[in-house]
Subunit: 314 residues, 2 copies
């Protein structure tokens, strides 16, 4: 192993960061959280993961910090910040780096690996796709709604020893994790879900996934969007099966009344990851000569909803 | 374009090499064939591609050679040799090389890119998967039975200008071609078909694909093998959909009484690509901890059929 007894930092301790960081910590690993809003509360009351699937998990006496300088150099940095906060990584990451520090982004959408590679060198960058449903229901309390695998891979080059080490660390923490030979195809696979469901939840002014699927018109629109995204991915060189559409509908029905994180952000007036989820995919589709009518219309609706100031003209 | 007016060599002018080389030549490109068995016949009578799908194509006055030294340096070398003849590439390729010569292997199975990379450097190596049904029915006569796309990609690193140039050259020649971001996943996608259908055709002592699907037992075995190969691929980091199984059955039914090249080789007493198609996949599956019972049994049967001298112990 190249990641023996690794020192791990979690940058961005929202639902995703707390869930995976908490699981890794619970497996006995040395995990340090960068936390902003909930820092004091979690220091006092600990972290709680509620899951009907795996049982509940309560963690106390965590190593929580408001600044990465208090964490110091790590072997593995897991980035679970919202993509709209990526600018902050310029300052947050350097104190965590030593020679072979791996940067693993678990963020949504397109462009995060490229951004990290531009700042810190592509050799450091790994990515992970989390096919999971999580919500932060109150400070320090994460609800785990639907199980999902993690696909982990290298941004440049083939999987190597550290990739398989990360897979093993996650597996030992009870997380279903698998090395992917093709990280970017997995990104597109996740967008097949995020684009329609996060998008229609915002465009419908806050409907959950169950309500979207119960509405005949929105359900049909979600399916058409999924087909269009699969075809855009194909034009960009990522072959995904059309059968994903039906599979995703069945999976999503199993989620019940799930509210994707984007719509929670939207409802709270927080910034929404418009470019990472919809904007970059749209532009890549246009560049590849794909049909993008449905994605384009959805992007316009989302931009109108969140306010044009937050959308680039692209 | 980095491949402007390219000089192209076809190394291995069997059904695959003659079909793609003939199409590229017919589109106006400068194509040179390395041919062994049929050289004199094709020099005299030309090349004929018979297709119910695209119409027939007759080509004469081709540049055909028995030695790559008579062809000389090229920009693009398309390798369509049987994988069992790979040893010959050590001698065949060097006369075709200049500084930026790209080597595009259209061969079946696993290990061909690695072999070329070991000999000539990974930067030169590209791969293509041809989802097509072709048979050489007599010297210089190729029958095109089922249309299929070509997925073309880079062995190391991401697709670049030359990858998109090859895509364009193929498309201009009337070949459905698409750059793949993940060449090795496409290799496994093709193995999902080749492993059961080429394999059961040999194990059944020569049944065609139509006959395999008409036999209740063999049809079930083909489907179980496809499911196992999809799961092996998944364990090796290549996510393929289970829906491939049904899709492949439908596509294969459309091929009629097709005899895969392996079974034609087998029937003629020629060497069969046992390691490239079955052996390497089996060993990779074992290494990845996948269930390989069905592939293992098929491999043993094929080894017994073709004679143990041609199978490595693995």
């Amino acid at each position: 192993m190249v990641l023996t007894d690794p020192r791990i930092a979690i940058v961005g301790s929202g639902a995703l960061g707390c869930f995976y960081g908490g699981k890794l910590l619970n497996s006995g690993l040395d995990v340090h959280f960068l936390m902003r809003n909930d820092l004091e509360h979690v220091n006092r009351a600990g972290l709680r993961i509620e899951s009907n699937l795996n049982g509940n998990l309560a963690l106390s006496d965590l190593s929580i910090h408001g600044d990465t300088q208090d964490i110091g150099p790590c072997d593995l940095v897991i980035i679970a910040l919202k993509a709209t906060d990526n600018e902050a990584l310029k300052v947050l990451i350097p104190p965590l780096l030593k020679e072979n520090t791996a940067l693993l982004t678990l963020q949504n959408g397109l462009g995060n690996e490229e951004y990290l590679a531009g700042l810190f060198g592509e050799q450091r960058v790994m990515g992970g796709l989390c096919f999971v449903c999580l919500n932060r229901i109150s400070p320090g309390v994460i609800r785990h709604i639907a199980e999902g695998r993690v696909a982990v891979g290298e941004f440049s080059g083939s999987p190597g020893p550290r990739t398989y080490d990360v897979e093993l660390l996650f597996q030992r923490a009870g997380i279903s994790c698998k090395v992917s030979q093709c990280l970017m195809t997995e990104r597109w696979r996740k967008l097949v879900w995020n684009i329609p469901f996060n998008g229609l939840a915002i465009a419908s002014e806050g409907l959950d996934t169950g309500a979207i699927l119960s509405d005949r018109h929105l359900r049909a629109r979600a399916c058409s969007l999924m087909r269009e995204v699969i075809e855009i991915a194909r034009c960009c060189g990522h072959e995904l099966p059309l059968s994903l559409v039906d599979e995703q509908v069945v999976l999503t029905e199993g989620m019940g009344a799930y509210r994707p994180s984007s719509v929670i952000d939207y409802a709270k007036g927080n910034e929404v990851e418009v470019e990472a989820i919809w904007g970059k995919a749209l532009r890549m589709g246009i560049e590849a000569g794909a049909e993008v009518a449905l994605l384009g219309a959805l992007y316009d609706e989302i931009c109108a909803s969140v306010g044009s100031r937050k959308c680039k003209s692209g």
